[in-house]
C-alpha cells in the first residue's frame, strides 16, 4: 500500500517536471524581444536606418512581415528572418509592437523642406497617412518620427518598382517631383 502511494507520488512528480520542460510556446514578448537587437528595445530604434516598430499599426507590421516572408516586398535581411515565424506568431508580434509607446526621434531634418512637406502632405497623402502620419490605419504605416534615411530608402524602392506601391498612393506620388517627395519625407521624419 505504502509503495503504491509513493509510486503514484513519483509519477505525479514526473508529470509536473515534464509540464515545465515542455512549456507553452514563446510569448509575444519573447518573440518580439529578439527583434530588438536591430529595431531597438521595444521597437524604438536609435537610428539612423533601422526602422522603429514601436506603436506601428498592427496590420502594417503583419502585412509587412507576410510580404517579406513571401518575397513580395524586397528586403536586405527581413525576408530571411520573417520565414522563421508562423502567421500566428507574426500576429502576436504585430500586436506587441503596436502597443509600445510611440518613439519620438530628434533627427536632423531640413526645416525648409519639412515646412514644404507639411503643405504638400495635406492634399496628397493625408487621406491615408492620417494625423500627420502619426496614425497608422489598417495597413498604412505610421510614418511620424520614422528615421529619414529609412523612409528615403523605401521611397527609392517604390520608385524603382522593387516595392509595389498601393495603386491609389501611386496616383498621388507619380506627379510629384523628386524634391517634393523628399520634402514630404523630411516632414514625416520631423513629426513628434
Amino acid at each position: 500500500m505504502k509503495q503504491r502511494w509513493s509510486r503514484w507520488a513519483l509519477t505525479a512528480g514526473a508529470l509536473t517536471i515534464s509540464a515545465t520542460a515542455f512549456a507553452a510556446g514563446p510569448s509575444a514578448e519573447m518573440l518580439s524581444n529578439a527583434c530588438a537587437g536591430c529595431h531597438g528595445t521595444h521597437g524604438g530604434s536609435a537610428g539612423l536606418t533601422m526602422p522603429s516598430l514601436a506603436s506601428q499599426s498592427k496590420t502594417a507590421i503583419v502585412e509587412a512581415m507576410k510580404k517579406f516572408k513571401s518575397g513580395e516586398r524586397p528586403s536586405s535581411i527581413m525576408g530571411r528572418i520573417a520565414k522563421g515565424y508562423s502567421d500566428e506568431q507574426i500576429d502576436m508580434m504585430g500586436d506587441f509592437f503596436s502597443k509600445q509607446k510611440f518613439h519620438a526621434t530628434s533627427q536632423a531634418v531640413d526645416a525648409a523642406k519639412a515646412k514644404k512637406g507639411a503643405d504638400l502632405q495635406e492634399a496628397n497623402c493625408s487621406r491615408c497617412h492620417l494625423d500627420d502620419g502619426k496614425d497608422g490605419k489598417d495597413d498604412t504605416p505610421v510614418m511620424a518620427s520614422q528615421w529619414l534615411p529609412y523612409l528615403q530608402m523605401q521611397m527609392q524602392l517604390y520608385q524603382s518598382g522593387a516595392r509595389k506601391m498601393p495603386d491609389k498612393m501611386a496616383e498621388k506620388v507619380k506627379p510629384l517631383s523628386k524634391e517634393d517627395l523628399d520634402a514630404l519625407l523630411h516632414f514625416y521624419a520631423s513629426v513628434k
Partner: protein, 426 residues
Amino acid sequence: MTMQRRDFLKLVGAGAGISAATALSGCAGTGLSDTTGGRRVVVIGGGYGGTIAAKYIRMMDKSIEVVLVERNDHFVSCPFSNLYLGGILPDLSTLTIKYDKLTTNHGVKVVQAEVTGIDAAGHVVQTSRGPIKYDRLVVSPGIGFRTEEIKGYDAKTPEIMPHAWKAGPQTLLLRKQLEAMPDGGTVVLSIPLGPFRCPPGPYERTSMIAMYLKKHKPKSKIIVLDANPDIVSKGKLFKKGWAKYYQGIIDYRPAKKVTEIDTGKMTVLVEGIEEVKGDVINLIPPQRAADIAVAAGLVGDDKRWCPVNMATFESAKHKDVHVIGDASIAGAMPKSGYSANSEAKICATNVVALMNKREIVGLSGINTCYSYITEKEAVSVAAVYTLQDGKIVGVKGSGGVSPDLNEAEAIFAKSWLNNILTEMST
C-alpha cells in the same frame, strides 16, 4: 519534485531575511555580502550578454534586485573593431559604452570588481571588493584562451603578437603595429580551430586589414593561416569579395594550424614544421569559456564550454546559476554578440519566471552577423531559433546568408551597432 521543495524552503528562509538586509548592509565592501532579501540576481560580465540580462530582468520585474559585476568601468565592443583596424573608424569611441544609465533608467546596481570565485552551494560570488550573495546568478563572462596549446606562448606574447579578440588595448596595439609596418611587409593572421567567438570575425578582419594595406601599403600582403579546413562562415561571399578586391594581397591558406611561435624571430610554426615569418602577427589562440567559468566548475567534460539547460540557460553543473553568451553551449546559436543579446533575453524571461514560480516561457531567438568586405559593401548571416527536444535549432526554411555583397547592408549594419549598443547602455 525535490527541486521544487528546495526552492520553496529557500523562499521561506529568504522571507525571514528581508528585515535583516537593511540592518546588515554597509558592513562589507559592496554592502551585498550578507543576505539577499530573497530576490537578488547577480550578473557577472557587463558585455553583450550581461548588460541585457540585467536590464531585461529589471524591465520585467522591478521587485527583483539586480547587481551587475564587471571588472571595467566601460565596455568596448568587438563588433566593428575590425573597421577600426581597417581605418574606417578613427578611434574606439563609437564602440565604447558606459553603465550609468542602466542604473538611472532601470535601477541596476553596478559593482566594478573582479569576480574571483563562485560558491554555488553557498550562493555567493567572491569579488575583489568582497563577497556578494545571490538567489540566482547569471554568468556572461565571454571567452578565455587555451594558450597552453601553443608552444612558446607566455604572458608577454599578446604584447608582441596581439590577438585583438577582446576589444580595447589589444585592438589599439594591432592597429599601431599595422601603421608602423613598412610598405612591402607581411601580416600574418592565425585563426584557431572552431568553435571560437564570432565565426565570420577572422574573415572580416582579413578583409579589413587587406583594405588598409591596399590603400596605404600596396606592396604588402596578408597571409591567413586557418586551422580550419575552410572558411568557417559565409565562405563563398568572402572568397568572392577577396577575388574582386584583394587579389594578390590576401594569401589564404586553409588547414594550417599554428602550434608553436617564436616572438623573438617573429615566426609561427604550422604543425611544428612549416615556418612562417611576419612583420605583424595577429595570433588568435584557440578558445574556451572565460577563466571564471572554468574556475567555478561551470565547464563540461570538454573543459572548455559550459553546458546548460537550453530552455532556461541554467547550468547543467550548478543549480541557480545560468550561463549565457560565448561561454555557453547554446546548440545552433553561434558565439556572437547578437546571440548573446538574444540568449540574455531568453534567460532573463525565465529567471523572472523561476523566481516567481511561474511556468517557463517557450524559447525564440535570433542571430545576425554583419561583416564588411570593403568600406561600402557588407554581407550578413541570419537565423531564427526555436527549442526542439531540449535543443536550440534553427527554424526550418528561415535564415541564410546574403545573396551577394551589397551596399544596403553596409548601411544597415551601422544602425544595428547603434541599436544593440544603445540597448546595452540605456
